[in-house]
Homo-oligomer: 461 residues x 2
C-alpha cells in the first residue's frame, strides 16, 4: 500500500496533463479499427501497434502478439516487491459505423464538442472502448511520471476482436495461462450508474449470436410470374422470427428459461433504492413505455432478464424504388442476452431445432454462429471490491454502487474459467454514449474523472 501522500501529486499531474492525454486518445480514435469487417484488418493491426508503442514509451514491456484473428497487445510492468498483481483488460477494436449518413461528422475524425450537458469526445470508439481503455493507461502514465513506479504490478491485455465475438481470446488465454494469471482482473468497458454515481458492475448478461439464412427458389424470381406457387424466403423468415416471442413477450425457444434466477425481494428492493429514472432512460432514446416483460422494472429487465433481439434482417430488393422480386434468400441476425446459469450452447441447439422444424418444403435453413457466452456474476466478496468502492466514492460526488449491466463482456467469464481469476468491472461510460450507434461520444468528465478514479484504485489496491 503506497503512502497516502503518493496519490495527490498523481491526481495533480492528471489534471495538468489533460490536454496531452486527450491528444493521445484522439490519435488512437483516428484509426478505424473495425474488427468485424475484413476491409479494416490493417487498421486493426495499426491500432495494436500504436498501443504497444505507447506502452513501451511509458516503460512497459509491451508487444503485439499474433493470433489467428486480430492481434492482442500484452504488456508487463512490475510494482513493488510483494504488491498485488493486476491484469488490466480493454479492447481497441470498434463497432462498424453504418449507417454512415446518420453521423454528424466523420466517425474517425474525432473532436471535442460542446454540448448542453458539457464537453464530449465525439467519434467511433470514444466510449467503447478506446476512451475507457486510455483512462487506465493515463493513470499509469501519471503514476510513472511522478513516482517512476506503479503501486502494483500490472499486466496489460488489449484485445482487437471484442466487437466480433472474441474468437481468438480463449485460445490465447489458454496458450498464455501462466503469463496472464494475476491476482485479479480490472476491466474498463462498463458505465457509471448515473452522472455523478460511479459503479462497479457485478452482473453481466451473456450473449448468444446466431445468423439464420432461409433459401427457397434457386434464384431470384419475378413475383408476378411465380408469386403464389413459389416459396418466398422473406415470408418464411418473418413467420419464424414472429414466433420467437409469445404475446406476452416471452421467448418461446424450448428450455430458454432454464437457469434464469428468480429475483430475490432483497435484490429488487436494493435496485429500486438506486433511484433509477425509467422515464429519463427511455426518453433519452425517444421512448416512453417499457416494452419488455410487464412484471419487471426496466432495471430488472436489463440487468436480470434474458432477451431475444433481432439485430439485422435483409432479403430481396432493399434499394430505392421498387422491384417485384421474389427473392431466393432472406437472412436475419438474432441475439440472445442470457442471465444466471442459462447455457448458451443448449439454447443454440434448441433454437436451431425450433427454427429448422418450421422450414417448409422446398426451403432450407443454414446457421452461422456469432459467439456464445454465459452470463457473469462477480465475486463481490473479494477484498478488492471494497477497496475500489471506497476509492471511487472518494473521487465522485456520490458513493459507488454495485450494479448489473445489460451488455455482455464474456471476458470476465473466460478469466474465471480459463485463468481462475476474478474480475472487477469499473467503467465511466454513460447510457447516452450512443455506443454501437452513430455519433458515439464519451463525456470529457468521464475521461478526466476516469483517469483520476484509476489512479485512486491503483493506490487502494
Amino acid at each position: 500500500m503506497p503512502s497516502p501522500h503518493a496519490l495527490p501529486p498523481v491526481l495533480d499531474r492528471l489534471d495538468a496533463e489533460l490536454d496531452a492525454a486527450l491528444d493521445r486518445l484522439m490519435s488512437l480514435l483516428r484509426i478505424p479499427s473495425i474488427s468485424t469487417d475484413p476491409a479494416f484488418t490493417a487498421d486493426v493491426r495499426a491500432a495494436a501497434e500504436a498501443l504497444s508503442a505507447d506502452l513501451n514509451g511509458m516503460g512497459v514491456r509491451a508487444s503485439v502478439r499474433d493470433t489467428t484473428g486480430h492481434p492482442m497487445v500484452v504488456g508487463h510492468i512490475d510494482g513493488p516487491e510483494g504488491a498485488p498483481h493486476v491484469l488490466f483488460y480493454g479492447h481497441y477494436d470498434v463497432q462498424p459505423v453504418d449507417p454512415l449518413r446518420l453521423w454528424d461528422r466523420d466517425p474517425f475524425d474525432p473532436a471535442i464538442e460542446e454540448t448542453p450537458a458539457g464537453k464530449v469526445i465525439r467519434g467511433r470508439g470514444s466510449s467503447d472502448d478506446k476512451g475507457q481503455l486510455m483512462t487506465f493507461v493515463e493513470a499509469c502514465r501519471a503514476w510513472l511520471a511522478v513516482h517512476r513506479h506503479l503501486p502494483v504490478s500490472v499486466t496489460f491485455l488489449f484485445e482487437g476482436e471484442e466487437e466480433s465475438g472474441s474468437p481468438s481470446l480463449v485460445p490465447f488465454l489458454e496458450a498464455n495461462r501462466e503469463e496472464l494469471s494475476c491476482d485479479i482482473a480490472l476491466i474498463c468497458d462498463t458505465g457509471l450508474f448515473a452522472e455523478d454515481s460511479p459503479a462497479i458492475t457485478t452482473m453481466l448478461r451473456g450473449l448468444l449470436g446466431e445468423e439464420i439464412t432461409v433459401t427457397g427458389p434457386d434464384k431470384d424470381l419475378h413475383s408476378g410470374a411465380f408469386g403464389g406457387p413459389a416459396q418466398n424466403p422473406i415470408r418464411v423468415l418473418t413467420r419464424i422470427l414472429a414466433g420467437l416471442h409469445d404475446d406476452e413477450g416471452r421467448v418461446t425457444v424450448p428450455g430458454f428459461y432454464d437457469g434464469v434466477p428468480v429475483l430475490t425481494n432483497q435484490m429488487r428492493a436494493d435496485w429500486a433504492n438506486l433511484g433509477f429514472d425509467e422515464a429519463a432512460f427511455l426518453g433519452g432514446v425517444g421512448l416512453t413505455t417499457p416494452a419488455g416483460e410487464r412484471e419487471y422494472t426496466v432495471l430488472e429487465q436489463i440487468w436480470a432478464r434474458p432477451t431475444c433481439e433481432f439485430n439485422g434482417i435483409t432479403g430481396g430488393y432493399t434499394g430505392d424504388g421498387f422491384k417485384t422480386v421474389l427473392p431466393s434468400q432472406a437472412s436475419a441476425k438474432v441475439s440472445f442476452r442470457l442471465v444466471g446459469t442459462q447455457d448458451p450452447l443448449a439454447i443454440r441447439e434448441s433454437f436451431r431445432a425450433m427454427v429448422t422444424a418450421q422450414v417448409p418444403a422446398d426451403c432450407t435453413v443454414s446457421f452461422a454462429e456469432h459467439g456464445a457466452s454465459p452470463a457473469s456474476v462477480m465475486a463481490t466478496d473479494h477484498p478488492a471490491f471494497a477497496a475500489a468502492r471506497a476509492a471511487l466514492s472518494d473521487e465522485w460526488p456520490k458513493p459507488a454502487a454495485f450494479i448489473g449491466a445489460g451488455g455482455s463482456i464474456p471476458i470476465a467469464g473466460y478469466f474465471k474459467t480459463v485463468l481462475g481469476m476474478d474480475s472487477m468491472l469499473i467503467g465511466f461510460g454513460r447510457d447516452d454514449d450512443r455506443i454501437h450507434s452513430p455519433n458515439e461520444k464519451y463525456d470529457l468528465k468521464s475521461f478526466h474523472k476516469g483517469m483520476r478514479s484509476w489512479a485512486r484504485v491503483l493506490a487502494a489496491l
Copy 2:
C-alpha cells in the same frame, strides 16, 4: 389487307438480316436504362434517344417526349389509306441488376451464348423488354425495306418507367389522347405458353406496391444496454408481416378477396387441357411443391388468384459479421397481385389500416406507395384476336392459345380507361428468362420467330 404474296419476302428478309438485327439489339442492351435508380437517369434518356433515332432512320416520324419522369418515345408512320391503325407499346427501361455478384457476366455487356437448350441473348433487358420491343421494330423495318410501306398505320409508344410503376404514363396518355388513340394496342411484354406454343395473353394480374417503415427508438441502440425495455422495429415489422397470411396461406387484409372471380369449371378445364407441366415449371427454379393455396393448380394460382408477396426487407446491421444493434427502423416492400375486379385503392387503405392498428406504443409506421393498378381482362371478341391467333399459329409448330399471366402490365388497363382502346398482348418470353433476376436471357429463337410473328400479324391485321 395486303396481297398474300407480300409476306414471304418480308419473312425472307428477316431471316437474311438476323445478324444485323441482333447487332442493333445489342447496342440497345448496352445502355443501362434502370428507371428505378436515379443514378441511371441519363442512361434512361440515352436509350430513348437511341430508339427515336432508329425509328427516324426507318422513316418513322419519331421523337423523345419529356414527362415529369423519364421520357416517352412516340413515332408515327402511315399505312395504306383505310388500313387499320395500331398502337405498338413496349418499354425500354430495365430492372436493377443487384445482386450483381450473382451475374455470370456484366449485365450491360450482352452476348450470344450457346446453351444446351440453344442460343440465348444474355443481358439485362434482353427479354424484359428491349428484346421483345425490337421484335416488332425489326418486323416493321423489314416490311419497309421490302415494300416501302407497312400494311397498317402504326403509332409507336415506348415507355421508360414501366419498371418503376409508370408514374408519368396516365398523365401522358391524357395529354395526348387524340394523337395516341388507335383501333387497337399491341403490347409485346408477355410470353409464349411453352417452347413451341405461342400465346395471346388475355388476363393480367394487377399490382399494388407498398413500402412499410416501422420506427421505434430515435436512434440505433446497443441491444445489451436497451434490449428488453426498448421496442425493436424488426420485431414489430416481422410480426406484422407474419400476420398478413393465415395458416392456409390466404391473405388476411380485410376485404382483400372482394372482387376475386370464382373460376368457372369451363376455364379450369380449358387450362388443364393446356398440358402445363407443374413439375418442370417449379423444377426450373429449384422447387418441387406448389406453395400457394392448396385447392388451386399452379396455373390457376398464377393466372387467377391474388397474392401478397414480400419483395424486400431490411433493418439493423446486414453486413458481414455481427453487430448487437437494436435498430431505430426496419422496412419492407410488399406487393399484392390482383385479379378480377379487386380494387387496389381499397386494398391499400385496408392494408394500411390493418398495419397501423398493430403498431405498439412508442413505434410509428409510415407508408410509401409504389403503384396501384387493377387486373386486366382483354376483349377477346375483338376481330384482331382471331386474326392474330391464326397468324401466330402459322409461324409456330403449335397453335396459339389464349392464356393468363401472373405479372402485371397496367398499361392495358390505362389504354382502355384513358383512350377507350382494347389491347392485344403478344410476346415471346419464356418462363426461364430470369427477368428481374441475375443472368436474364432471351432465346435467340424467341427473337427470330418473334420478328417473323409480328410480320405475319401485321399482314393479318
